[in-house]
Amino acid sequence: MNVPDDLKYAETHEWIRVDGDTGTVGITDHAQNELTDIVYVDPPQTGASVTAGQAAAVVESVKAASDIYSPVDGEVIEVNESLSSEPALVNTSPYEDGWLYKIRLSNPSQLDALKSPDDYRAQIG
């Protein structure tokens, strides 16, 4: 499974790419592979506050609806509109075109509690 070196990871299989005070959030290659066939993405609303470890979005495969937990606290500044018509981008491009939402980080120190690529690789074996 692809685990890019420039991202931080949550134990619940989300990633975050940090650029200054903004973070882009998605689900990992491992997560999309486990979920398979993603057919619908319910993103958070722009302007909403998301909290580390709390459900921020829902990703639905044919079989099940899965909560996606925010890796850190923040305010949603953008959601990936293209997932509305092409939810399978989460399967085909989990780290690029299939990102879920962007936040303005409100508590950047929380990033330290996330996993490094090596730790996440060890977690998923």
Partner: protein, 364 residues
């Protein structure tokens, strides 16, 4: 008490093919191999094979077997000749569904009941509790395996594997020679042409491999569920329950109220006279929405009128589909409703069943 999920004899072969498994009715079963959508479309377009060894095979035989089953089952067994199969119900005294099943008439006095995996113990206990002289109940679920091969190419695959013609819909043949003792039935749960095979566990590996070699795609229970839902075939435990009758489920055609007597008949007659409290309807989403799933509230004008019993994104239609019990005055094609999905309301409409009409299925 927790019990380990059980495995069919094909478990290792399926794992080797990449099966992802879930617990279904106490069994560790493949939910998919590659993709539920791909497997679903393979059954609609070519052919797929499902391991259904978790389902129960219960033989009922003896000089009183016919009369006794006529009393225990809701459909009219007199209309099922030797060599035929019939969809029917085990009902409780209230007319509620204990299980839905297919009965195959092996001989005048010998019947095979194919029952749901999660209901084997309950069905057998119910049958034994009501058993009578001259009836032998033989639960062979542990020693028998079963496969369902479904799709437009099923007839070709049957010829390739067994060197004979596939049995016609709702009939079966008992074969001995080709690969051992195999019961092959023209039945299924997908709406497509196809067949189901019942045989001793020892034959499973060979038959599974032969069916794959002939071109059937291995499919899991995920596709089985979306396929059956497109056909509005009920799933017991979801769309059927001990508190709902086959009349409410719209399956009255499989209930022979003209039989003089069977378990649940009085309750069904009373319900029919009083009017049905609800009807199971097919709902199609009419706006873009998350996939509907079981236990979502159904509303009309903001008022709750029921909840979904099953739901999915239909891979054939690329639309959300569901079933729900609604009050009879709302259970009419064209009725608009809303389905509450995580607090948001999405428009849906009551459709005529089924959602999908397979191109391969023979005229009934």
């Amino acid at each position: 008490m927790t019990t380990q999920p059980r495995r069919t004899v094909l478990f290792d072969q399926q794992k080797a093919l990449g099966a992802r498994c879930i617990n279904f009715g106490g069994w560790d079963m493949p939910v998919q191999f590659t993709s539920i959508i791909d497997e679903h479309l393979a059954v609609r377009g070519t052919c797929g094979v499902f391991d259904i060894s978790h389902m129960g095979e219960v033989f009922v035989s003896g000089p009183r077997a016919f009369d006794w089953l006529q009393h225990m089952l809701a459909n009219d067994l007199a209309k099922c000749p030797v060599g035929g199969g019939q969809y029917t119900f085990l009902l409780n005294e209230r007319g509620g569904v204990i299980d839905d099943l297919i009965v195959y008439r092996m001989a005048d006095d010998n019947f095979l009941l194919l029952v749901n995996a999660a209901k084997i113990d309950e069905d057998v206990a119910w049958l034994r509790k009501h058993s009578s002289e001259g009836v032998t109940i033989d639960n062979r679920s542990d020693t028998m395996s079963a496969l369902a091969v479904q799709g437009p190419e099923a007839a070709r695959i049957f010829r390739e594997v067994f060197q004979t013609e596939m049995p016609a819909r709702n009939t079966f043949i008992a074969m001995e020679k080709c690969r051992g003792a195999v019961i092959a039935a023209g039945t299924g749960y997908t709406g497509e042409n196809g067949f189901e095979l019942f045989f001793a566990n020892s034959l499973a590996g060979d038959i599974w491999a032969a069916v794959l070699k002939a071109g059937a795609k291995p499919c899991g229970l995920g596709a089985r569920d979306t396929l059956r839902l497109e056909m509005c075939y009920p799933l017991n435990g979801s769309d059927l329950s001990p508190d709902r009758t086959p009349l409410e489920a719209g399956l009255g055609v499989f209930v022979a109220l003209d039989k003089p007597d069977f378990v649940g008949r009085d309750a069904l007659l009373a319900q029919k006279a009083a009017g049905l409290p609800a009807r199971l309807v097919a709902l199609r989403m009419t706006e873009k929405s998350p996939p509907p799933r079981a236990h979502y509230p159904v509303l009309v004008d903001g008022q709750s009128v029921g909840e979904t019993t099953s739901g999915a994104l239909s891979p054939s239609l690329a639309q959300g589909i569901a079933m729900a019990y609604l009050p009879p005055d709302l259970a009419k094609p064209g009725q608009t409703v809303q389905i509450d999905i995580r607090g948001r309301h999405f428009a849906a409409v009551v459709e005529k069943k089924p959602f999908y009409r397979p191109s391969s299925a023979r005229a009934a």
